[in-house]
Symmetry: none
Subunit: 219 residues, 4 copies
């Protein structure tokens, strides 16, 4: 598992001044710089507005170098998505609430840290890319659905089923609309990233409220 991928909050790692000549580690470093720089540029300007020259400048490499790694701007975009989408929702497996905890508590325990991670890493940027470019680049939607959407929906639905079996939920609302639980996630990403960056809401907090609404905490 490459730990190079988007977990370092916010900015791309620095980069020693370029030298010539081969070396596996330098190649990996160049590739990583390029991908981080490209993510920044794509997030800030969208695909059409991004400029290869700005990307390479951000990455501290020459224009031509980018093309050794990705043959076109589109391919670079796909590479960025592939690189940063995968770890989006890492850490969510089949829901297995402990016997001594309610399903609500289990969801709080498992989802809120994920939300926090998303908020403090680049992953939110990747998600916003899906919003901005999904219309024109089907592959980015497919990647998002595969890596994030489908998995989380399955996770929530399975948890809802357990909750109904245990009697913690008395209606099938969450089974019918599992996405309801994640609505605050998108809301927070949109508000913080676009609408009111000056007064960011906490996605984790909103998510907690939403879980409380669905699984009222025992007082």
């Amino acid at each position: 598992m490459t730990d190079e991928t988007g977990d370092n909050p916010r900015e791309a790692p620095p980069r020693k001044p370029r030298t010539r000549g081969p070396s596996p580690e330098k190649t990996a470093q160049t590739r990583s710089c390029l991908l981080h720089a490209a993510l920044d540029e794509f997030v800030e300007n969208g695909f059409a507005g991004a400029q290869m020259s700005r990307i390479t400048e951000r990455a501290g490499i020459a224009k031509g170098t980018a093309y050794r790694y990705f043959p076109t701007k589109s391919a670079l975009f796909e590479g960025v998505v592939a690189e940063f989408m995968a770890p989006l929702i890492s850490g969510i497996g089949p829901p297995e609430p402990r016997a001594d905890e309610s399903v609500g508590d289990f969801l709080r325990r498992s989802l809120i840290p994920v939300m926090t991670t998303i908020e403090t890493s680049r992953r939110a940027d990747v998600a916003r890319l899906v919003l901005a470019e999904g219309r024109n680049f089907p592959f980015i939607v497919q990647a998002y659905r595969r890596e994030a959407y489908d998995r989380t929906i399955d996770f929530v639905r399975a948890a809802a089923r357990i909750a109904m079996e245990r009697g913690e939920l008395t209606d099938d609302r969450l089974l019918r609309h599992p996405q309801l639980i994640f609505a605050p996630l998108w809301l927070a990403m949109i508000e913080t990233g676009i609408l009111v960056p000056d007064a960011p809401v906490s996605g984790a907090e909103l998510l907690a409220e939403q879980i409380d609404l669905i699984f009222p905490p025992s007082r």
Copy 2:
């Protein structure tokens, strides 16, 4: 105020074949065609990806004609936003629940039709434009906040206050996070417009569920 604005579901109005000579009504019609064509193009391709030539072609006018109405592509974009943003949330005033209805019922009665209108008109496209271009065009965010966001937040917060006064709400959750009630709106627009266009969720339905969560309907 032209009533030509974005209420006709989906497509731009046709355009009578050109005739020579000026005429105020023809000018207004040309302007409207241009704006609708531009909205389509901006929604489909984003600002950077939109092409003036495609816009004028869609509008059925010559390239140079667009420049008689808006001096630059950016100005046209602003014009589009100004034109289609205003009526986004029209019909929402100060919340005045009737004496014989609960605040929850009042919210259901006032918000769900608005949601339905948004879903079936171009307004959802305009909202998605905010997502895609907000980063690069502050004015579009300002417009959205002014015309939609601030108004709805105020509306919900006022309603929440009434509900607390009446004892219909026992906690201040909605007062602290009024946006919670709109989370399903964004969710539905994103799912339907981008993520799962093949199996669109009903935003109105999700909104109803969310209101039910916050204001449990009396049996």
Copy 3:
């Protein structure tokens, strides 16, 4: 029959300073200037070595203008070939020697003026393009074969058949190798255009000699 096509010896026609706005005749003129400039550039530098910027500069138009007429450099090349190849061998129909002249005299009378025309017009340049780019651009070879090669071969073979019927030829050499009669044509074009431009041979003279060899002139 456009007389615009390569008959004016050597250089492209001058061109009034560009103005904007439509006008059929100006469009035709621009197109012609472009084609002539492109021919010059392709002949001098080959396809790969030709530069669009040099072509448009020669033509006295802006870079983008060329792309209104031909979508790519390759398409422009094809356009050049189509434009200038057609009239290469114009004026050769079915061989019909008069009763009172020998076939040799008929060939002298019909072929030498064509040769002279080729030598003094741009047509020789077009032929050299076939040599230089035929390998990489099959269409240019096809065009040459269609417009020039096949026609002349047929012409010569038909003449040879008549000559044998009349008893003017006693062997079938020319029937088997009709191209033999044109060998001096390529030779002259190569020598004059490439090998010894400082001491150009007359292709017409060489051709006359070759015809004399095959049809010895009666003394």
Copy 4:
């Protein structure tokens, strides 16, 4: 002088896998591979269209290695010409027909094998390079004139002189236009290499016909 030069019909010699460390013979072999690969590339794509990376790939060496042998692409091109032009017309000395043979028979005996060699070796490719690149690279024309053209012209003229002295020729046609005898050579190279590769003519056969025309064989 490496005997590696262009006589092996068609393809470049293979190349043993690289081993480390210097060695004069390896250097020579590398150089030869490079030159053959470069000839192929230049013949196929012309100078401007040729790519150093493709040449080194064909040669089985690294990009940088080529630059140890030739400082620039142009220098490599000159090297290719120098290497493969020299043996173009090897084997033609001063014309010395035996006393018992006619000059025509002598020419048939000396020229036809040369023609055959040219046709079956890479030399025809080199000649076509002269056609394609002569305009832009004077040195290639100079080399061709020095190594091939001037020699053959002298040879033919001297033979013509002898033939006139012997009374085998009654006019000075060949003296005035000695190149006439080689016209079929270019014709065959052009037809076979470019115009009608699917139905190649035999250059040797055409040359024989041409000599027969000038020196009618005694029956």
